[in-house]
Symmetry: C2
Subunit: 489 residues, 2 copies
Amino acid sequence: MEKLTPRSENYSQWYNDLVLRAGLAEHSAVRGCMVIRPYGYSIWERMQQTLDAMFKETGHENAYFPLFIPKSFFSKEANHVEGFAKECAIVTHYRLKNAPDGTGVIVDEEARLEEELIVRPTSETIIWNTYRNWIQSYRDLPILLNQWANVVRWEMRTRLFLRTAEFLWQEGHTAHATAEEAIAETKQMLDVYAEFAEKTLAIPVIKGVKTPNERFAGALDTYCIEALMQDGKALQAGTSHFLGQNFAKAFDVKFANKEGKQEYVWATSWGVSTRLMGALIMTHSDDHGLVLPPKLAPIQVVIIPIYRNDEEYAAVRAKCEEVYKELKNLGIRVKLDDNDKYKPGWKFSEYEFKGVPIRLAMGPRDLASQSIELARRDTLTKSMENINDIGIRVINLLDEIQVNLFEKARKFRDERIYKVDTWEDFTAVMEKGGFAYAHWDGTGETESKIKELTKATIRCIPLDNPQENGRCILTGKPSNQRVLFAVAY
Amino acid sequence: MEKLTPRSENYSQWYNDLVLRAGLAEHSAVRGCMVIRPYGYSIWERMQQTLDAMFKETGHENAYFPLFIPKSFFSKEANHVEGFAKECAIVTHYRLKNAPDGTGVIVDEEARLEEELIVRPTSETIIWNTYRNWIQSYRDLPILLNQWANVVRWEMRTRLFLRTAEFLWQEGHTAHATAEEAIAETKQMLDVYAEFAEKTLAIPVIKGVKTPNERFAGALDTYCIEALMQDGKALQAGTSHFLGQNFAKAFDVKFANKEGKQEYVWATSWGVSTRLMGALIMTHSDDHGLVLPPKLAPIQVVIIPIYRNDEEYAAVRAKCEEVYKELKNLGIRVKLDDNDKYKPGWKFSEYEFKGVPIRLAMGPRDLASQSIELARRDTLTKSMENINDIGIRVINLLDEIQVNLFEKARKFRDERIYKVDTWEDFTAVMEKGGFAYAHWDGTGETESKIKELTKATIRCIPLDNPQENGRCILTGKPSNQRVLFAVAY
């Protein structure tokens, strides 16, 4: 197999080649839309299952709202339309007809919609328009819903998983009787995302809140989890928004409280998307290919028999089959690859490239000594194992690899959080990559100016951020806390 | 709770009221698009999970292809464009801008797409355009993929679940080296659908093949499963298409066979949709509300404590909690409803309306006698049960209810398959509802004429249909087999 472009040489080339060659996704014939291939999709499915269970444990149910949103809905919430509705797919007609010259089909101009429909870029508007009919009294609250859906935001520069015109995501939309309850929900879902990122994706994240400049269009507060990629750029891995009463006011959603008084409903929304696939790949993978945390790996263990003739094959195959069955019975996602069209060496690099966490290989000599070779994808190390202990060994090792990937990423990330106090040090960090933890004067103007000069944005104000007097990195004006800057995806 | 319109009085009113009032789905602000509410969605989720596992067991993987399809793709397969692409949602622009008069947003005419995009009504074209790059040799075959997705077909007259502009479905798209293999796949998936319908939905179905008039646009053969609703109308519950080499030819998808010769690839596609929700409701439910088969019921058992004062409550509640835990530990989806805002009578009709298969109720006297009242939703019968046997009793009963619903529906269906030999008998069947199993001369003209006269279509030619000489019900011309006619949804 052709070698990957090394990360050190060209990180985005490395990423793109890896996504394509590992069979995760590819560009489609439609500008900006990707095809998620089966191997990529099966990783996404595991993310979905894990998150879905976490949502249900915290009392949420799934529902489904329309793909299309009437154009006028976007104008109802002023900030929302400014932030969102501009770059989107617009449906204007509902019928094709045969071209008169017989060369195919054309749009039937007589089938023009009275009001254009927007393919949802996010669903606050259509959902809050629906909630109006569902909510009369405090007894109807809270509403705790989630939707798994595709959304479309017309992007000019796209990158597989990271930025595509159509992507898959989940969007939670909840309705509450009080601000306190809505804020608690917003924070709870941030915690769910952080736990999911760290325990399942093995990606360390910093929980924080966005500055007004970086807030979701229509939110009073946007909470987020921020991760650091191997090239030193940050990636926002999930957001949870406290929407206040903005959408309730825009769509006239009121409830009678316990005293019978009419009040506007309080809202949250929160989402993660197939972008997490990009975060996963860029956090763990290396120049040899994908590295997958065991909890998400479609294949956790591959077993490869090694033999030179039919007799050897029969003996080795039988033992490999035994190991296969043992691991399968232990609930491990295991594959026995006895395809004889490919040589063991080819298979070794194939599974390494695909990020299978553990590879087991056995030849006639191993069989004789009751041993089996075990290779770890995360450390690229090999060891000989006693075949009689292999079940428990593999189970423990899968846990160990999961933890190791997280710890490795955390170490990498922690080493790249720089406390800086001068503009010179700040720009140096932005050039080499990493988070700069620096004082800022708290104004949107300064934030914009810093972005203009360095491409860096304030990724978040970490939760429970210590208060400390200092001076803004750019303006020298007084500041009472540091915030986290980085150049971001 | 207000009574449902009885089925005998107005079947479609009954259906519509039931869907709305049971909280399954509702119409949205977007013409023809529905909102699937949490209770409805949780039933659909169970359908998805069951089917998805069956697809994977038969070797299929999931993937995801773009929502949009370039307009020109539809013209490539001549029959497909005739059958499909006309009534659809067409994206022509990709940007909104602020209206000059400040009244909201308008379409930015400068952001017109060079080629219009169609919101997928089905994905054969975009998928076969992708397969061209994935298939070079026989080693790349078969490709066995499925996609869970939303699709849009612009419908003028919509009904919740049964016919909506946007609906959710799965679409399998497979590619094979030989016609035989593709035909075997087509039939295998028909069997999967039939098993799913009968074992999970408890809906008896007839497996058959469509006449050329009723085939999927672009298919050489369309296999289907047909069910009978309680109003005597048929409903197509799933289809599996043998597409021959039509799409491979349209999108130039060839492979090198074992002899190195270039051949076109053979295709199948197969799908079921949220329409199954409609079939489920119309097969089992009654004038008291929903009836759900235990395998799909979000709540399989509800436990309702009955009491007049705090002392009684404490005692009854404690025992109900015990029963709840026992059933939960047995893997049953059980709910203990001790909400004191509602009276037991209200709860009884609520859960009856929602189709919960088993209701358990316990008051102080029951507690004293170590018994519990059990009510079955399918038969509306009650019995007193020994509280110490309740776990095993409930488990067995859930199985029994699942089977009973199927048998009841099968009896209903079987009693309405009429062998008819005269036009008079045929029209009588079409008026009262049911399947007419009748001779037909095999021509599309006669089929169309019968449809014109009676609204009846040939639902299918059953698989393994006995050959028998007879005369066409309309034309009197010779026929060698009967086919199944019905008025259909």
